[in-house]
Point group: D2
Chain length 141, copies 4
């Protein structure tokens, strides 16, 4: 019950059920562990902007979903206080985008997470999220 | 034809027609001018995360849409190279979120835009976007 | 005694006396008020990098000093949790750089401040600082 | 002559001689390689702010120096267009701060570098720098 990997999986499963926004955007949970997570999105017509490429907002949303799973993986509720994203290459219709989050530092209740969004081997975006644990907050779901 | 306000309006109208992602997310163009734009989103069930509040990804997408209109308003195509967002207050179901973009600096082809997302008078998020003009890029739409 | 402008001035004066780093770097306090501050630096040989222009680190240090004065101006100790800076133009030997800080939002104990660094009318850098009030912390000096 | 490690070392040596700002701030080059660098600073009285801890501006300057060595290590001039820093723990008088830069992505002429500043094992700050290669720019020094 106290196994960190098991805590990460149970928390993520509850979050996945409760997160209508991520589900409606087409985001799927791929993997989760203590301080890490991977999520995926297949770029569809609904994600395209006027240039015919994946809207940066959906690239961010995907990275933000990875951040949410990774930062809540320890079983203590955490919320994002902010993030920076660098857009490096466009995502095309049909691309399978995978966002991988890694905990860089957790100092007290403040965390920093690096999230890389890739299409195959190509890096689409680099994201760094800032989180704060909120022990009093009810777990998602 | 060369009136800056008219160029901003025509460019925005073309972008709005072409941007399936922003439209599908429920984002509406409210106002646009040279270097400025305002867009709105009414928080619906589709935007809620597991905490029952507006997903940060949709708050970002709204701010990013304002950035796109403002940075393309001069009639030269511009793309976002990155952005930073600070999440200050949650957005609730039914809230009317309005994102207002202002051009802070345009130095050569590089631009910085400040976008504030509000629900009424309350500031939900502060976003700063980095753009680069790409004269060779076809206009959206 | 409770006049906000007077509180800002007294706090800044105490900070200026105590801040060996800013003084040694050549930074001078120009103006301060509730939520605002201006500081200046004349670019000297000691500030030049290998390209013969003002080192970005000193441009940041100047902006950070403005942030410190502005965020502590309410008479409650505040510390920077982070900042983003965009370098727009180089600062040259002999330039008088002025950094002006404005409080963008103060939500609970968390603040955001915009700092613009100029040489005359030219914008050298745009900085956005994130702060947190720490009421238990002794005032600087 | 074309060995990447040798190019990195020669470029760094020329930069070190030319960079009066970093030298005057007390920054020492520790190590450099293709896309990486480590620099160090011993916190002295000249670096202390009014709280008696290392001024955030000098923590940034140290990280920025690591960024400069790492981003110029390929023998093509590169300049910083911006950076974000998160301050996690204070640096104390006498601390030996070491900043380690790692190239995260180099896409065309745009680079992203992660720089971690540590005192022993404790992480003092996390920095992410954005660079742009400028082939026409004369090498530092």
């Amino acid at each position: 019950m106290d196994d960190p990997s098991e805590i990460a999986r149970r928390t993520a499963a509850a979050m996945e059920r409760a997160d209508a926004a991520a589900r409606g955007a087409g985001i799927r949970l791929v993997d989760v562990g203590p301080g890490t997570a991977a999520v995926a999105l297949t770029v569809a017509e609904q994600h395209l902007n006027g240039h015919g490429i994946c809207h940066g907002g959906y690239v961010f949303l995907l990275a933000d979903a990875a951040l949410a799973y990774a930062s809540n993986s320890h079983g203590v509720s955490a919320v994002a206080s902010g993030a920076d994203i660098a857009f490096l290459r466009p995502g095309a219709l049909g691309d399978e985008l995978v966002a991988t989050a890694v905990e860089r530092v957790l100092a007290g209740r403040s965390g920093l997470y690096d999230v890389t969004v890739r299409a195959g081997d190509a890096v689409i975006a680099e994201f760094r999220g800032r989180t704060r644990q909120v022990p009093g907050l009810a777990a998602p779901g």
